[in-house]
Amino acid sequence: MFKKSSLTVITIVFISLSGCSRVVKVDRPRVPKVLDRDAVNETFSIQYAIDEFEKDYKRYKTLVLNGDDASLGLARILRDVMIDRIRVDVELNYREYEARLFAGRAAFDSVADFLELGLALATTISNGERVKTVLGAVSTAFKGNRLSINKNFFRERTIEAIVSKMQESREKVKARILRNMLEASVKNYSFEAGWTDLVEFFYAGTLQSGLQALTADAGTAAARAKARTEGVEQLRIASLQDLEMIQKIRAEHDKLEAAWATARTNTSPQAVAASNEAITKARQILKRLDPDSREDLPEREVLLRLRSKISESLDDRSKLVELMEAYGIPQTGNQ
């Protein structure tokens, strides 16, 4: 049997707990009326009502079916309005959900902390072995329950980490929706496509989505840890001069490749002549870089050999000067 003093201690702890939960009420500033989804009057509601949506959607379909430029322009405006109105609803609901998640988790943690402390205190100050044993068992069971909630609902993640992931996922979808609204006509981004994105936008803001994104991140981190460096050659940091030289070399080389590639699809005399000229030049450059190279190499092979010569500069930057000379590129003083 509990002794009177033990019961008194437990009662005090629980009463103080219930008091704390009322005093420590950290929620949010008051929501302005125009952002309050519950602030409804006879003429206006911030929420997008189903009948309003139905009316807009029918009008949108009619405009799209009309198919003329003016109708499609109006359909685009209506599409954007509908998407924006749904987005406002999703946004408002999400913000409330996020606030509830924070508040709920904080309240749960606070109550759990107080209960654990209260039980520990009651166990310490109570007389009698049986009372101690019972309180000890209750404390252990409580800790187990807390751990279980942490594991099963929050996967032992902090709300901050989960919400941060939810926000990241939402931002990605939101950026896509806004970009499409800005750039795409209703032919390329129909309301239905936007509707699908809105569904994704909505679900990106759920606890499950946040946890999934965190798990995916953990997977990426694990994969990242496996990026082996052993046996991989290191690149020397390129100087500004290195970059300028390779840009000039590539500009010259790319002209040769472009002329040759054009003549593969365009057989006009001009294109063929330009290609022949490019290949002749390419052969001369290759000869300067590799005097032993054969003169009857197929055209494609000549270009590939030159690529190979340029690639040598990746690990031997002194080749850059040699390449500049071979391609006939004048060198400035600082090269």
Partner: protein, 101 residues
């Protein structure tokens, strides 16, 4: 093709080196991530076709207060396409980046 780059270098030095490697090797950067030993980053490149133009590489640091998605949708990234986002060593510190071109 894979190459490591010193993660103690600045972001611009690493970007310049990656671009140099793209031009010199006729390949394009596909991924860039932290290596498993020391402060080294590992760059993975893929082949390009003859005549293929590889636009300028842009690497932006993602500040802690922002997400890669926000950077991608910012004016800095206008007209560019995302290649990847990852975490690499920049001046010896783990830094979130996005790569665009």
């Amino acid at each position: 093709m894979k190459r490591t780059i010193d993660g103690n270098a600045t972001l611009e030095e690493q970007r310049r080196t990656l671009r140099f490697a793209e031009l010199a090797s006729f390949k394009k950067l596909d991924n860039y991530e932290m290596g498993d030993i020391g402060e080294l980053n590992v760059a993975s490149f893929i082949d390009t076709e003859i005549g293929e133009k590889v636009p300028e590489l842009v690497i932006l640091e993602v500040p802690e207060s922002r997400t890669p998605a926000e950077i991608i949708s910012s004016p800095f990234a206008a007209g560019k396409r995302l290649i990847f986002d990852s975490t690499v060593f920049i001046e010896g510190k783990e830094t979130k980046i996005v790569a665009l071109r």
